[in-house]
């Protein structure tokens, strides 16, 4: 199918994620306060602001890959908590696989999603089931790729990814966190939603 995504649409998507992160600051902070250090909303709001500024001020100049990589670096400078760093890593790794392109095919998007997923796992060293964003991100990337392979529309693939992220988030909610700050909270994390998973869901909701 000939569906493609323009530079403008990618820039708009990144901007939208940024706006959403700023808007959700309090909500995400309150989640992180329950089993972390309460900085997630702050970090992501700073990153959101930086992404908006970056999207508004940096032209794509025909290379979406480079542009996404730079967006990742701007994100890392703005907020470098665990999640913030993983988000930056995802942007940089996602950008790498579309280097030189000025518009993206659905397959490009699926490859980006997969690279982001791999990058996050490499950087954070979390396993599936550790109750981190990986538990939402990995199934979301897989669902997206599967939908694209099956020839579904981008919109449908996005919905599949979102549904998979939500399901992944809910699957690990009863579990105990095994990595990061939440792991120190021990059994008291059981039954509480992982803030990173929820943050991913919030971001996907903004763009699909």
């Amino acid at each position: 199918m000939g569906e493609t995504v323009s530079s403008e649409a990618i820039v708009a998507g990144v901007r939208k994620v940024g706006v959403t992160l700023v808007a959700q600051e309090e909500y995400l902070t309150s989640l992180d306060q329950q089993m972390g250090d309460g900085d997630l909303g702050i970090t992501l709001s700073k990153i959101g602001g930086a992404l908006v500024e970056f999207a508004d001020s940096t032209p794509v100049d025909g290379d979406l890959g480079k542009w996404l990589g730079k967006a990742g670096m701007a994100a890392n400078k703005a907020g470098s908590s665990s999640f913030g760093t993983l988000l930056a890593t995802a942007l940089m790794r996602g950008g790498k696989v579309v280097s030189g392109k000025s518009e993206l095919t659905p397959e490009d998007l699926a490859a980006m999603f997969a690279a982001a997923d791999a990058g996050v796992q490499e950087r954070g060293k979390a396993q599936l089931g550790d109750k981190t964003v990986v538990d939402a991100l990995h199934p979301a990337a897989e669902a997206f790729a599967a939908a694209i392979s099956a020839g579904e529309s981008l919109a449908a693939a996005g919905q599949a990814a979102l549904a998979a992220a939500r399901a992944g988030r809910d699957r690990v909610t009863p579990l105990r966190s095994k990595i990061g700050r939440a792991s120190w909270v021990g059994e008291r994390t059981e039954g509480k939603v992982d803030a990173g998973c929820e943050a991913l869901v919030v971001m996907l909701e903004a763009v699909v």
Partner: protein
């Protein structure tokens, strides 16, 4: 808890501006004020030491930048990791040709960013070694010691490694000194009240008027257990028991003892804790090589305290006793 500040977003940069203005002979920064270095850096021919982490823990982290301790520090927002970029800037500025040792707490954001910084530094041909601080016995059982977080014990690592570097040690020797100090160091804390991150505006957690959290982390991460507030002697015994069970010193051993206030707990109460800790060690036939009582690693205005013990052999004792001078830590 009420705070004295202007705009929450300006909290850290304004703090750093005040710091540089107060200590111009001792501290400087790269282009970014979040990258604090010794005023005389790079010290040529000396292995450099860098740390980094979130703000809100003074004197940790940047308070230990100075002669005989650290060369530089990447400073994050309150309780937030600094960026890989900032760590790289510090690394480049302090490298005196003999490499850089990173010593910092085992927190996700810090680990990921320091790892990135180390990768980037290698492109500039700067050798980097990393030593992770994981001294908090309350954060994981011994079998999962690799998951433990880094708290006040990092000060002993800064001190010993800093002394080794000042004495002309190689990068491997400096990293080994830090590793050795940490292998012999354990910490545990208790919190009585929360603290407020300026941008969040409300306390990191809530706790009853008659409760305490045993084993709480220095960002308000919950600890092992929430219990009724106990007496100073009981609290001290709880912390000492947990640390000693893990560290397992023998009668005749000598320890460095740090009783650290988390912020709002006054020095008077820290000395009451020290008294009991000292007596408990004496009962076991264990001597105190050196006592540190005060605020060494804080959580803003959190009330509570931690105890850190380090088993010292003659080598660690000599490194610990070596002089150091920073705006927050002076030893003759």
């Amino acid at each position: 808890m009420k705070k004295i500040l202007n705009q929450p977003a300006d909290f850290v940069p304004e703090m750093l501006d005040g710091l540089i203005k107060a200590h111009p002979d001792q501290l400087a920064y790269t282009e970014d004020i979040h990258c604090i270095v010794r005023a005389d850096s790079p010290v040529q021919g000396k292995v450099a030491l860098a740390t980094g982490g979130g703000s809100g823990h003074l004197p940790v982290f940047l308070g230990y930048v100075g002669k005989g301790m650290l060369d530089g520090c990447a400073v994050g927002d309150v309780f937030a990791s600094p960026s890989a970029d900032q760590m790289l800037a510090v690394t480049k500025r302090i490298d005196g040709g003999k490499g850089v040792v990173y010593i910092y707490g085992n927190y996700g954001g810090d680990v990921m960013n320091f790892d990135m910084a180390a990768e980037m530094a290698s492109f500039d041909d700067i050798e980097v070694k990393t030593v992770l601080v994981k001294d908090d016995v309350a954060s994981a059982p011994p079998a999962e010691a690799g998951r433990r977080r880094g708290v006040a014990g990092m000060v002993f690592a800064f001190k010993c490694a800093g002394a080794k570097a000042d004495q002309g040690g190689s990068i491997d020797e400096v990293a080994a000194a830090a590793e050795k100090a940490l292998a012999n160091t354990r910490t545990m804390g208790v919190a009585l009240s929360p603290c407020t991150v300026p941008r969040a505006g409300k306390p990191t957690f809530t706790i009853g008027e008659d409760e305490m959290e045993i084993g709480m982390g220095i960002h308000g991460e919950p600890g092992m257990k929430r219990e009724k507030l106990q007496t100073a002697d009981e609290i001290t015994e709880r912390m000492m028991d947990a640390i000693l069970a893990d560290l397992q010193p023998n009668p005749g051993d000598s320890l460095a003892v740090m009783v650290n206030g988390l912020g709002a707990t006054p020095p008077e109460e820290l000395y009451i804790i020290y008294r009991k800790a000292h007596d408990l060690l004496a009962q076991r036939g264990i001597g105190v090589h050196r006592a540190y009582v005060g605020e060494y690693a804080t959580s803003m205005e959190m009330a509570g305290a931690s105890i850190t013990l380090m088993k010292v052999d003659p080598e660690l004792a000599a490194l610990l006793d070596y002089p150091a001078q920073t705006p927050f830590f002076i030893q003759l």
